[in-house]
């Protein structure tokens, strides 16, 4: 089986078989990343352009490492230092990059759907590295990969996603993948951060975190986007932390072998206490390691779909 796609835009349009193929392929790339010489010649002569219209350290570095370990050439392109500030449109910027024979464009953009627009008009493969509050497929894939490594099966797994569900592309990508794979997904957060009709995606809604955590096998904490808090979604960070922060006491409500995940960057002492973030239950750094393997797998599999 192979991934017959040019682009990776979101988890919503991936089939269960395609998800499994990406995870299985990433197994091999994890082995490559464990070698002394962490490089294979697979994408030699190919060019990957990281086009980031929002700040990012983890995702950009992860894509850059993934491309370099496949022997591709990588250009990093941050919107703040580019012609975008001179008023160039997204499509013009991307077309210019493609005119320099780029094979992959990895796009992070504040607007939902931006990668889809590029994908339709460019020959290059487009990988969505986060578009607005819409999707962040490689994050969901690395979360799935980490879960599969630790828990083997998705079916029957009880998973709680906690935080600003409404503004989280990580939540949306994960919900759509995990429901498809047969996990029981709960979402917890304040009503102001809970999108209406989210139940239709197949999740259960909790406003009380303690209740949501009962019987949980996995807790996925979302970052509180403090920089977004111009709009008042809750009275104060302290109050949010008290009601929705993950503490060692709360962790005990979940199953004994519970896993704690976080897409990063973490706000220590806000959504997650340092004791929990550094505990044996935390797989936050495994997620980062696995991110490189997942992105190598995605670049490899898409390279045949063009």
């Amino acid at each position: 089986m192979s991934l017959k796609r040019k682009d990776l835009l979101g988890m919503a349009d991936l089939s269960v078989e395609e998800i499994q193929l990406i995870l299985q392929t990433a197994d091999s790339f994890k082995e490559v990343s464990g070698r002394d010489i962490k490089k294979v010649p697979t994408l030699r002569g190919k060019t990957v352009v990281n086009l980031f219209f929002e700040p990012s350290t983890r995702t950009r570095t992860s894509f850059e490492l993934a491309a370099k370990r496949l022997s591709a050439d990588v250009i990093n392109f941050a919107a703040s230092t580019s012609s975008v500030v001179k008023g160039e449109t997204l499509l013009d910027t991307a077309s210019n990059i493609e005119a320099m024979q780029a094979d992959f464009i990895v796009l992070r953009h504040p607007s939902a759907g931006a990668p889809g627009i590029l994908a339709r008009s460019l020959r290059a493969s487009v990988v969505n590295a986060g578009d607005g509050s819409h999707e962040h497929p490689t994050q969901a894939l690395l979360d799935l990969f980490t879960l599969r490594e630790k828990k083997r099966e998705f079916k029957g797994l009880c998973l709680v996603i906690v935080g600003d569900i409404a503004h989280s592309r990580v939540a949306r990508s994960n919900i759509s993948a995990l429901v498809k794979l047969g996990a029981e997904v709960r979402v917890a957060g304040p009503p102001t951060m809970m999108p209406r009709h989210i139940e239709e995606l197949g999740v259960r809604v909790f406003f009380n975190l303690d209740e949501a955590l009962k019987g949980a096998d996995v807790i996925m904490m979302l970052r509180l986007q403090i920089e977004r808090q111009g709009i008042a979604l809750f009275p104060s960070i302290r109050e949010y932390s008290r009601i929705y922060g993950l503490t060692p006491e709360r962790l005990r409500l979940a199953e004994r072998d519970v896993l704690v995940m976080h897409p990063g960057p973490i706000n220590r002492g806000v959504e997650i206490s340092p004791e929990v973030a550094d505990s044996g239950a935390s797989v936050i750094l495994d997620q980062v390691t696995n991110g490189v393997a997942i992105r190598m797998a995605v670049l490899y599999l898409l390279s045949a779909g063009r």
Binding site: S2, T25, D27, S28, E31, V32, R35, D36, V40, L301
Partner: protein, 187 residues
């Protein structure tokens, strides 16, 4: 990869080797390895996925029986080193490479089921060298069917098999879930 039923309908199969002949060939190659290397000290086997891995394991058992010592065995997936990835419509499925020992300064014997164009062997040597610097690389194959496109020669050959370029040689092994056998499929 098991031959699909479609392929079997289209092509006529001719059995070239059966279980006993395969066992004899492995036994002979094991003896040749010992003779060539004056024993098995410093020798390691690395099978090329998928068929080569099973053959490497069988060779290791045989070498152990004869010499009373064990030989380390690894598995190499060459997909990432192929030279035809660009030309293919579908990406081949990746399998894991597992070389749980240091190959530096060892005599590494690559094991494959069929030697044909030599391109797999080229890719395997590139892959192997990313893991260290073996003192020597040798090549053991069950079947050499000719038609080389690269200057590559096997050190140990189970059977030399003259074929036409359009024919397909399939090696079936019990480990894949069907009886041992080498079959030529003619289009």
């Amino acid at each position: 990869m098991p031959a699909g039923s479609l392929m079997e309908v289209k092509k006529v199969g001719r059995t070239i080797m059966e279980a006993q002949e395969i066992a004899r060939a492995i036994s002979r190659v094991a003896h040749e390895i010992i003779e060539h290397n004056h024993g098995i000290e410093g020798v390691a086997l690395v099978g090329i996925r998928t068929g080569g891995v099973y053959l490497a394991n069988r060779l290791a058992v045989k070498l152990g029986e004869i010499e009373g010592a064990s030989v380390p065995v690894g598995a190499l997936d060459i997909t990432l080193y192929r030279d035809d990835l660009d030309a293919r419509k579908e990406q081949p499925t990746l399998r894991r490479t597992e070389i749980p020992f240091d190959i530096t300064d060892r005599k590494v014997i690559l094991v494959d089921d069929v030697l044909f164009t030599g391109r797999t062997t080229r890719a395997a040597m590139d892959g192997l060298i990313d893991f260290g610097r073996p003192s020597e690389i040798q090549l053991a194959v069950l079947v050499d069917r000719g038609h080389r496109q690269l200057p590559i020669k096997a050190t140990y050959v189970g059977k030399n098999l003259p074929t036409a370029i359009g024919e397909t040689v399939e090696v079936y092994l019990e480990e894949m879930g069907r009886p041992d056998g080498v079959v030529i499929l003619t289009p």
